[in-house]
């Protein structure tokens, strides 16, 4: 009996046991590595947008995966609620002042970063809310310096991390600047009103009149400046025209100089006479054309008769040719031509 058939049961048993054993080892190792047998603690946070978010996304702290995103949904308050879990061995990292940040890195994907609070407290209970980075609560915690900002150490993340605070500060800086300008403007207006109010009597009236006069004077000066600017432009145009006139090769001397239009007008009537003769010859030609037209008009019936006779002659010719073609006696066809040898024979046509 063949070895394989004789020990079939053992071979199959080994085949099955090895495969199942390997599968079990892989499952146990995988489960241990990915924390399947570890208790997990669920928390949630809210962000303004789900861009870059996905279920199963890792929750990281200093580059370590401490949990994963379970899911997310749009709330009635128009926010995105993210539910995530943290593994039991990392529970101590989640304290009262913790903040989570949703980051999206191109090509690499996104992650949910956990930033711990400065004050070490007991871990917060399951199902608690952890503020997100951009939420009012998270911003307040950061501004109060109660959060340890921990970011991944790759170059792309560092650049994004450096840009983020700058972009965050620019709108606030602009807002502050606008508020400062508005405040200064209001203060100056108030001061002006108060100073004017305190000045009473002739001096006050004089100052008030002087202020009005100064304002009117400003307006007048502005109008005068505009008028002067117009005058200046006009003067420049006039100066440019005068320069053109003075130029020996300018447009005016070219119009009036030798070979110009003035020479045509100073030919003692020769051009006029030529034009007059030309018109007289054209009149004679038109008269002859008129006479020819009238003659053709009188000859039209005769031309029509000629055309009619020609058409009848063509019909007769057509009938004759048709008769000849249909008559078997007179139809001889084209006689066959006998090929005549060419009298000239070239050197190349010589036969050997």
């Amino acid at each position: 009996m063949k070895f394989k058939i004789r020990y079939a049961t053992q071979l199959v048993g080994l085949f099955v046991v090895a495969a199942v054993g390997f599968a079990l080892v892989v499952l146990v190792a995988l489960g241990t590595g990915q924390g399947w047998f570890e208790p997990t603690h669920t928390y949630y946070t809210t962000v303004s947008s789900a861009a870059g978010l996905s279920a199963g996304m890792s929750v990281e702290y200093k580059g370590f995966e401490i949990g994963r995103v379970r899911g997310y949904e749009l709330t009635k308050e128009d926010n995105v609620k993210i539910e995530f879990f943290v593994r039991g061995q990392y529970l101590d990292l989640v304290d009262e002042d913790s903040v989570v940040e949703l980051t999206g890195i191109p090509l690499v994907g996104g992650e949910l970063l956990l930033h711990r609070g400065i004050a070490e407290t007991e871990p917060i209970p399951d199902e608690s809310f952890i503020p997100s980075w951009d939420s009012p609560e998270g911003r307040a915690l950061r501004e109060e310096g109660r959060v340890v900002v921990s970011r991944p150490d790759d170059a792309l993340s560092r650049i994004i991390a450096d840009i983020d605070p700058i972009l965050e500060r620019v709108p606030r800086l602009l807002d502050s600047t606008l508020e400062l300008i508005a405040g200064a403007d209001a203060t100056l207006s108030t001061m002006e009103r108060e100073v004017l109010a305190q000045l009473e009597g002739p001096i006050g009236e004089l100052l008030s009149s002087s202020n009005q006069l100064v304002r009117r004077l400003d307006t007048t000066v502005a109008e005068a400046e505009a008028t002067l600017a117009n005058v200046e432009r006009l003067s420049e145009d006039v100066a440019a025209a005068a320069a053109t006139f003075r130029d020996p090769e300018g447009i005016i001397p070219q119009l009036l100089g030798p070979g110009s239009a003035s020479m045509i007008l100073e030919d003692e009537g020769q051009l006029y006479r030529r034009v007059d003769n030309l018109l007289a010859e054209m009149e004679d030609t038109m008269r002859e054309v008129h006479t020819l037209t009238r003659f053709v008009g009188t000859q039209t019936p005769q031309i029509a008769g000629l055309l009619e006779e020609g058409r009848e002659a063509l019909e007769l010719g057509h009938d004759v040719l048709l008769g000849v073609r249909n008559n078997p006696l007179v139809r001889g066809g084209i006689p066959e031509r006998m090929p005549a040898p060419a009298p000239f024979e070239g050197e190349r046509d010589a036969r050997f």
Binding site: K4, A8, T9, L11, V12, F15, V16, A19, V20, F22, A23, V26, L27, A29, L30, G33, Q34, W36, L107
Partner: protein
């Protein structure tokens, strides 16, 4: 022409319904088979031996070669994109999720599917099926169920071996292309694989095993009386088995990403 098309459609529907009825009958016979004696268990062992153990060498060679090709291509292409770490994700996606189940199924279809169809076809031609019926033995329970279980178990186990040899083969080749420590390699694989990957892979193997066994036994019993029908049925068994496995693979892959 229209009546011809109508007849063809009717015949197809009739065959499909018959095949579904056959499948239901096979599944109903499984408890009867499991409660039977040692004789029928030996048929199952023999089936696993022929389908699984004997195909192990082919599967190991094929999977090691595919793993090697993936690792070579990955180490050539991915560094240009700065994504070397994706090699483990690609290995898992290609070997565990896709190639493992489907290539194993193709090998089993080609080797065992044709063998089962031919064997059952010969049984029909030599009137052995009528003899079983005459002696009160249910041919479905005695002939089909052990083959169904044997092929299904073999495909699942061969898929596990395909993964083992594919991932080990890729590691072996990586030592020539870009040497990496074994524990780092294993850690990278464990980091990339998910429970969904494993579940999808095993589900595919189970479904493919059932398809291959049902198609092969169906075509074996479809032989009417002449021995010349046997090779024709064997060819159709391979064609139908491959097509159905590809369709099932597509459906399971789609469902796994939902």
């Amino acid at each position: 022409m229209v009546s011809g098309i109508g007849r063809a459609v009717n015949e197809r529907i009739s065959n499909l319904l018959y095949a579904l009825g056959f499948a239901v009958e096979v599944f109903r016979a499984i408890p009867e088979y499991l409660s039977s004696g040692r004789t029928r268990a030996r048929i199952l062992v023999a089936q696993v031996l022929f389908t699984g153990v004997e195909a192990l060498a082919v599967v190991a060679a094929l999977s090691a070669a595919i793993g090697a090709v993936i690792i070579i291509q990955g180490f050539n292409l991915l560094p240009a994109l700065g994504q070397e770490q994706l090699i483990f994700v690609i290995l898992i996606a290609v070997i565990t999720r896709e190639f493992g189940p489907i290539l194993t199924a193709f090998i089993v279809v080609a080797r065992s599917g044709t063998a089962i169809t031919t064997e059952l076809g010969h049984n029909v031609v030599s009137h052995e099926i009528e003899a079983y019926l005459a002696t009160g033995i249910n041919p479905i329970s005695f002939l089909v169920v052990p083959r169904l279980l044997g092929v299904t178990i073999s495909v699942v186990l061969l898929n596990i071996y395909f993964n083992v040899f594919g991932l080990l083969g890729s590691y072996a080749v990586s030592q020539f292309v870009s040497p990496i420590a074994f524990d780092v390699y294993v850690y990278g694989l464990f980091d990339a694989v998910t429970l969904t990957d494993l579940f999808t892979s095993v589900t595919k193997s189970l479904v493919f095993g059932v398809i291959i066994a049902l198609v092969a036994t169906y075509h074996g019993f479809a032989v009417a009386r002449a021995a010349t029908e046997i090779p024709q049925r064997a060819i159709r068994s391979v064609g139908h088995g491959v097509v159905l496995c590809i369709l099932a693979n597509t459906v399971i892959t789609l469902v796994s990403y939902l």
